[in-house]
Assembly symmetry: C2
Homo-oligomer: 388 residues x 2
């Protein structure tokens, strides 16, 4: 994670949306197309676009009131008890139309592109019922086709227990397994299935039931694991062959070993620990154990109202002891790995999708070091310079 | 600090650079000038421009290497021992011309304006010799006259002991008191005198000598107090009648009482604790004791490479238990108070300088809540809409 393969005085040739050549400017010897567009990056750093591998960027309403309550000492659990938390966003999303959801997420995707994020995973999970979960996933599929950003849809029906099923967790799990998952798989509405595996949400047993059903149906797996309690979510992710286990603030030593052995990506979310003023995931221990670590924004209206990947890098460096090199790897190629896309995304290599940003900084370290300001000046997606 | 005086559906009339009227749009009854420029703020929040009361925004070089070293566990003191820290910036500033210093700071001031900071205090203190300290202050005076931003210059000759005086602290204090301060006062080059009162820098006795001399010469006082060690810097600030005591990460209970009794503003710097991963100043205790609390960026290349006042508000709310209302007060009117400018700056009131920002947020709380993105859409300085 510390090897960036920096090319000084470099050049990149893109062709048909892909990287055709990368190296020192002076070393290019092949023929150049006549109608080539040249973008001058003098004095700038060219980087792969950020791959934000964990977001909830489709939502309605906002939760600034909860932010204020937390500043006065209320905990995440207190707020959920007062009718806040995930379910307050669920009630807003259920009232929103597909068009409204698309419009709001489309605006966020554009802002995210302006801040360098060229690919974003987005989860459902604010519907928690057949109709609204499907609406969210259909909206995400349409955005994937219509927007400039890369969008990877994840089904997170198991985000919280909806009020209709209060006291009936088995009934909701049955709905997910028997009705939603088969429909979503048949309609090809999601690449991943994710479960919030946590006390008071979905236990290990329920998570395993849901994820196993998803796996049989051909979905890839993610797990919200060991966020508030060390309950073995990471071990479950490893056992089921999940692509990533995310959060991990409370991961155990055995969880770290399990991820390392199974090659599961650890998806760390620095902005959540920062926003909630909780402890951070043990990034150092994970990296030192050989676990591939990604960082993502977890952009959502409750626990992290930010999509800034550079700021996530700053938090990772200052609070989690990740080096600037590790943070950059975690925000690009390892983010791609957390989405099963490392063969095509996350680095500037011949044959890969040409998703790149030009940052007005003298050195890649400035992205994390000089924080709270957007250094991105140009964004290239599929080889095309975007007008943002 | 929690009373914001919010006007919904409000309007502000500016005339000759000042606020002439403020209230509900429908309640304005007076005559309007024919040649009035109208700025539509529908759907936005109008706020006083941020007053950043503690910055080191004039510097040369950068210290991203130290940022990387800290991510690997090096402390601030380790880095100073390896030739990093303040003195590494001093060696860069001594090599820079006045024109270079002005150019770099001018660019930062423009970026700060774009992020809503309409007034910034800027300290010298990277010269640490007669000629370079005077060069910095002259450069700041010229910027104050030339730039759109408000600039308040502070003399911080006592920032660190320059290499020429190694082992001779009394000699350097004598230089400051006998030569620099009288010259700076006579030429009117600074509004404030500040001292880094800290073990290994300037002790209580030296700080008192320097600040007392400055006071006699008519300068107002600031103190870098109780940052790394609880040594009574706050009490000294109170005893000398300083306008503000800044940092205060390690302030004692007696220090808090002293500031409250003397009415000294506590200038807290959330970005430094965040960047260095140190403890935070006890904002809650200070506010509850009746101390007026300001927050500032401390923008500098070593311990906080950020000038984003909204991000400082976010850090204050999430890490220091300040409410969004307190954070906004601290970043505006209390920032003005920390510069002795609360009669003319820091709020939108008739007769005050018309320094305002329009933020594209539905509610003032979004400035802190929705972090890592610049919400400022328009900046008005002295009643004029700026083209940034």
């Amino acid at each position: 994670m510390r090897e960036l393969g920096i090319v000084t005085d470099g050049a990149v040739l893109c062709r048909e949306g892909r990287v055709a050549w990368v190296g020192k400017t002076g070393e290019f010897t092949g023929p150049l197309p006549d109608d080539m567009t040249v973008l001058d990056g003098t004095g700038m750093v060219v980087l792969p676009g950020f791959v934000d591998s964990h977001t909830h960027a489709m939502f309605a309403g906002s939760r600034e009131r909860e932010f204020a309550l937390r500043s006065e000492g209320a905990t995440y659990q207190d707020i959920a008890g007062q009718g806040g938390g995930i379910l307050s966003t669920v009630s807003q999303v259920r009232k929103a139309s597909k068009r409204e959801l698309k419009h709001s997420t489309s605006r966020y995707l554009t802002e995210m592109l302006r801040h360098g994020t060229t690919t974003a995973e987005i989860k459902s999970g604010y519907g928690l019922a057949m109709e609204t979960e499907v609406t969210m996933l259909e909206a995400l599929r349409e955005l994937r086709d219509e927007e400039l950003s890369g969008v990877v849809p994840t089904f997170l029906g198991a985000h919280a227990l909806p009020p209709e099923f209060a006291g009936n967790l088995p009934g909701y799990v049955a709905l997910l397994v028997e009705r939603l998952l088969p429909y979503i798989a048949r309609k090809n509405l999601a690449v991943f299935c994710d479960v919030f595996c946590e006390q008071g949400y979905f236990g290990l047993e329920e998570a395993e039931t849901i994820l196993s059903a998803a796996k049989v149906l051909g979905l890839k797996l993610k797990v919200h694991a060991d966020e508030l309690t060390s309950m073995g979510g990471a071990e479950l992710a490893a056992r089921l062959g999940a692509v990533s286990a995310d959060h991990l603030e409370k991961i155990s030593g055995r969880g770290v070993e399990a991820l390392a052995e199974a090659g599961v990506v650890a998806g760390l979310l620095p902005g959540v620990s920062f926003s909630l003023n909780h402890g951070y995931a043990p990034a150092r221990r994970l990296i030192d154990a050989g676990v591939p670590v990604a960082i993502a924004s977890d952009f959502n209206p409750g626990s992290c109202m930010s999509f800034s990947m550079p700021l996530m890098m700053t938090i990772a460096c200052t609070q989690m002891r990740m080096t600037p090199e590790e943070a950059l790897t975690a925000a690009t190629i390892n983010g791609a790995a957390a989405l099963g896309l490392s063969a095509t995304h996350g680095s500037i290599e011949p044959g890969k999708q040409a998703d790149m940003i030009l940052a007005s900084v003298p050195d890649y370290r400035f992205l994390a070091y000089h924080f709270g300001v957007n250094h991105v000046r140009s964004v290239i997606k599929n080889g095309t310079l975007l007008e943002l």
